[in-house]
Amino acid sequence: MNIRHLLKTSSGGLKTNKSRSVLTILGIVIGIAAIIIVMALGQGAQNLILGQLQAIGSKVIAVVPGRQPTGPADIIATFTDSLKEKDLESLENKSNVPHAVNIMPVVFGSQTAAFESETYSPTILGVTEIFANLYNIYTADGRIFTEDEVKSYADVVVIGDEIKKELFGASDAVGEKIKIKGRNFRVIGVLNKAGQVSFINFDKVAFVPYTTAQQYIFGIKYFHRLAIEADTEENVPSTVAAIQTTLRNNHNITDPKKDDFFIETQASAMATVSTITGALTMFLAAVAAISLIVGGIGIMNIMLVSVTERTHEIGLRKALGATEADILKQFLLEAVLLTAIGGIVGIVLGGLLSLGISLLLSHILGVDWKFTFPINGALLGLGVSALIGLTFGLYPAKQAAKKSPIEALRYE
């Protein structure tokens, strides 16, 4: 019996019991759709986070005080004061870190800003004049503060789009003075609307010289972060190594395990994010896969019923010359067809649902959530469903093939 007639025979068997066939594949449809949705959303979330990371720039290295958290108990260790002015000076020394072109200390926190009767709580970022370059943002009005203003603890501020709107409405902000922690800051620039970039919504940020922020706003003598830009992407690893050596020297650390700082690069952050979102996606997909097994058992169940019901047909086919292999193939193919159809319907359904969810998320969260159809997931789903058809169809098909023609013909 050639494959075309085998297909015809098997699909004929399924068509005879249409509603049952449809109900049988429901489990597979749901299982595959769930896997597709989980994988599509996982991929979307990963792309979103990676996109944010990409905005930081591949040459930028972040030095963060404290030990890299490896568990919940270590979280507290991240808020330490190990990065000081002395470290900044050592890192700026070309003989220590030859490939560093820009070094920017960062301090941050939340404070209330007020203009006349209006108030707003922006994130205050204390930075140097290079922040606009580093973050790729521009002023819509006015200017960025200068190196001199940083050195002279100037009371100047560059505000984000949303702060400007909240405090000043439609009127000009540049030249006005806003009050932060009881101190008057002159607005010298307003930023373009930038939205969410590298996990910070720049529209809600007020940039001030880090010197002023340390001294007058936060009252600290350490940094929350050092952003260091290497001259080329190739020199990032050697720069990381140089930073580690310099800081360990400064902090008298000989055992790298006792580092009181850790270093993040775009590459390392991306790898971490990919690992975490990848693991989460796989975990959720595995949970969804359980429904596939349940669906497979459902198929086996129905196939067994079908084999018993069609004992007569099996006997007849054998009497007319069908071999055991012919019958085995027929019933196995029925099971595989069922699951394959279930798989295809599941992929289409899952694809459509995840597209819908992606659009909904973009709308609700206001982020650029991109829908990607998980081709890997679709192929995996098809493969898995066919495999389930084979696995769970084999036992009923064997039962069918084993039937003796007379026993089968006698069965009423």
Binding site: H5, G12, T16, K318, A319, L320, D326, I406
Partner: protein
């Protein structure tokens, strides 16, 4: 050489505890082109004998030679092939596939044969023509009368041009008129086409269409006699 040679054939069915002998050593020959009727009450072993002769089951003891080769020389797949190519079956309950057209039902044995697909349609139509059902090709069995269904089954038995036709109570589920038509066709297959026919029945009238009647009782041959006054088919097909 006879087409069918049976020597001391025994068949015993094994239950968990009980052994039930169905055939207790039967011996007979059937020549090519013969029309044999097997009669006997229920439990006499006539169905068991037909199943063994039709390669649907194997004997427990004794020898069965078909077309010069003993059944023991055939593998299960070869038995299937022989059923397909050399034997045609007609059952009391017709055994047609439901929701499948008459034409497709008749094609069924060809599906498992080595006949090229291009020849299927013609063979099936020819077989249906020979039982007078050319006008019912695309009907489904449920739309046909009992007699018509049995004629579809006969066409299916014929389609692969078998040497032997095995008919298990072919008129058992039919009214007398349809039964007569079916017997006419079977008789014609034997006389005009020279096919060997082995028929099971418990009706003497039906059996008397054959050339020879073999009576079984409790797994043994009670009698095996030639029919003197055969019932002849009315020539309904003319």
């Amino acid at each position: 050489m006879s087409l069918i040679e049976v020597k001391n054939l025994e068949k015993t069915f094994h239950d968990e505890k009980v052994e039930t002998p169905a055939l207790r050593g039967v011996s007979f020959d059937v020549d090519e082109g013969e029309f044999l009727a097997i009669m006997g009450p229920s439990g006499s072993g006539k169905s068991t004998l037909l199943h063994t002769l039709g390669f649907l089951d194997r004997q427990t003891k004794g020898e069965y030679k078909f077309d010069g080769k003993t059944i023991d020389e055939y593998s299960d797949d070869e038995l299937a092939k022989a059923r397909n190519e050399k034997m045609g079956f007609i059952f009391q309950t017709f055994n047609l596939l439901r929701r499948t057209s008459v034409l497709e039902n008749v094609k069924l044995p060809l599906l498992y044969s080595s006949v090229p697909e291009s020849a299927w349609e013609e063979k099936a139509r020819k077989a249906l023509d020979s039982v007078g059902l050319s006008h019912r090709l695309h009907h489904e069995p449920s739309q046909l009368s009992g007699g018509e269904r049995q004629r579809v089954a006969i066409a299916r038995a014929l389609v692969n041009n078998p040497k032997v036709i095995f008919a298990d109570e072919p008129t058992g589920n039919l009214d007398s008129k349809s039964g007569k038509t079916v017997m006419e066709i079977i008789q014609k297959l034997n006389e005009e086409e020279g096919r060997t026919v082995i028929l099971i029945t418990h009706e003497t009238y039906t059996a008397e269409h054959a050339q020879r009647i073999m009576k079984l009782l409790e797994g043994e041959i009670e009698s095996d006699i030639k029919v003197d006054h055969r019932h002849k088919a009315d020539d309904f097909l003319k």
